[in-house]
Subunit: 381 residues, 2 copies
């Protein structure tokens, strides 16, 4: 596989984003299996790859998706994905654009976590087609959402049910706090906390007479390790398609599962300093340093050779805009650094956070068995 | 000005990149004045804005430029900029693309800092047009380049002078260490260190019989505060066109000079947590946290109202992919947070590092006096 990559992509200038299709397929199959075992609808979050070909792989066609921007919604809708949850609190100014999507006949659901936002949607969408609206529940105290027992949850449901062209969709939560766990047990507890919060909110709503048909949870770590999803109707996960170093540190995957890397070229040697420099810097890798406070700090990326074999102990210690400085963890790795990576050699860098790194590219170079392909992605807003 | 921005860009969905043309013009005039006073050629680094309209403002037309990618070189060449220094060590695989640029008649200069890279260029470019080649000198021990007294400097010059289709251009250095200074005196010393290193290299080369016609220094901080540039023939600077919070912390500019901001919308309130959430996260702002170890840590950005007036004490404390969490520095700022920034309100966020933040956008929305404009930019590789 690696040699194919080295040959097939020899004419593509570095840095570029490389996807290993065999790993991607494996990651997709595994998570489809997890969702299947839990007996819930799977609504993958397509914000990681933002790529039609990858989303279609998940379903063997189209299916329900989660998006992080309305631009993603439009991009995937154009490819036939017509059941879309926009999982970032909607601002009133975005409702016109949301309506244009709903006007195509798509089932679009937006998110609110305040009475003010719920009123804005109810006041805006006064004639069909109905916009779906979900209430965001906070399950980990990290970001947005209402606590399950916040009286606003019921107030919002009332506003939504009373609105002429709104479908009250249900409740949604995301335990992003799972990224800060240190082991599988911690993630399992976080998964249960995520489940309990949103099921509690749904039960309170039902006790007040609201149907609350959808109860949605999810993050890659919590879905991977959840023991059960009683009371939940659907699960979401995003980064699992590529996986990354943060996920590997969490035990969610191994380094061999990481399907996205950045191909870069060695451009400078500094034996006096103990580093080599590649042409992938902060723009090509992103400045996400998500492993900084995890068990293993990979700097701005772990380094593999051009064929994808890990070079143990080599990480990108520092980045400037177009420079990445690769350093060795110990003298043994340092001793061979300059001979195995001469000027002009290519390396593959595994990302800390695949969602951030992929966003630097409009195109993925894909190693697909014996073939090389290109897939586009949707960036911006 | 601000009210114009609020009205003119009301229909543009957030997040977007906003450029204040009056500030941009002022920053450009100031740096043109600095370079003029030093009596050196000015070769601005266009990697910050990557925008034809902004580069043309600097010269009132075209002129010599510095680029960080060959894609920038091609983009600016298409607009008539034909004297280009590609200031990142060139990899052998990029020489074919460099030759295509030189074949148009443009004066393209590439950078090397090793005998291996110099040989690669000399072996590759065997027939005219000549490729310019500069030697990178290390003036601060932070990244690439050779120390001025490294014998390789002379070895490289010999290889280049002996090559059939190479122009030995001269020596280049960049004291990126100036970004780590803590005051003006420190920057001034760094500017002198930068100057001395590259002038020393040039003198050694001339003592060995090489003409070394160009001696190039530069960074925004060092050029701003350099006392003199004796022996230097040209200066470079990039981020000054926009300035940013890192530069403000260094005393290179004030907050009122920052010409780039990200317009975002308030989408969630968390009074129980003390934060509000906007729709500009890690992708819209970048995860550069360059002020983290400076005198004042602005998180992932300083917050202004929609008209550009600073909201003292408000910063983006945390980012996820599409969420930015704004927190207040003290109780006074926190007390008014929710009333001055209701759901749907717009804010402008000043960036830590303009080069990284601007890269998330294909288009700048420009406040130009009474008018609103759009300028494109060149991203990718």
């Amino acid at each position: 596989m690696g040699t194919i990559a080295a040959e097939a992509f020899g004419a593509v200038d570095t840095p570029f984003a490389l996807v290993d299709e065999a790993r991607l397929n494996r990651n997709i199959e595994r998570m489809n299996g997890v969702a299947g075992r839990h007996g819930v609808r799977f609504r993958p979050h397509v914000k990681t790859a933002k790529c039609r070909e990858i989303a279609r792989k998940i379903f063997g066609g189209t299916g329900p998706i989660t998006v992080s921007t309305l631009k993603e919604a439009e991009y995937f809708l154009a490819d036939g994905f017509d059941d879309i949850l926009y999982a970032v609190s909607v601002s009133p100014a975005k409702l016109e654009r949301a309506r244009s999507i709903a006007n195509t006949g798509a089932k679009l659901t937006v998110l609110v976590d305040s009475v003010a936002a719920a009123r804005a949607v109810a006041d805006f969408q006064r004639t069909p087609p109905a916009l779906g609206v979900a209430i965001e529940i906070d399950s980990d105290g990290r970001r947005a959402g209402l606590k399950p027992d916040d009286p606003s949850v019921v107030d919002i449901a009332e506003i939504l049910e009373g609105a002429p062209a709104v479908r009250f969709w249900g409740v949604v939560t995301h335990a992003g706090g799972s990224y800060d766990c240190i082991d599988e047990d911690g993630i399992r507890r976080m998964a249960e906390q995520e489940r309990v919060a949103v099921v509690e909110a749904a039960e309170k709503l039902r006790a007040r007479g609201f149907a609350c048909p959808n109860v949605s949870v999810g993050s890659t770590p919590t879905l991977t390790f959840a023991e059960h999803l009683s009371g939940v109707t659907e699960a979401r996960a995003g980064v699992y398609v590529f996986q990354d170093l943060v996920m590997a540190n969490l035990g969610v995957c191994t380094l061999d599962d990481i399907a996205l890397s950045v191909m870069a070229t060695v451009i400078s040697h500094r034996p006096d300093k103990g580093w080599i420099i590649v042409d992938a810097g902060g723009l090509a890798l992103s400045k996400d340093h998500g492993t900084a406070e995890q068990a293993r700090d990979y700097g701005y990326g772990a380094v593999c050779d051009a064929d994808g074999r890990l070079l143990p102990g080599l990480t990108v210690g520092k980045v400037n805009q177009e420079h990445g400085l690769i350093t060795a963890a110990d003298e043994a790795a340092a001793a061979t650094l300059y001979s195995i990576l001469p000027i002009g050699a290519r390396v593959r860098i595994l990302p800390n956070h695949a969602c951030m790194t992929a966003a630097a590219y409009d195109v993925y170079q894909v190693i697909a068995g014996e073939a090389a392909r290109q897939w586009g992605r949707c960036n911006g807003w």
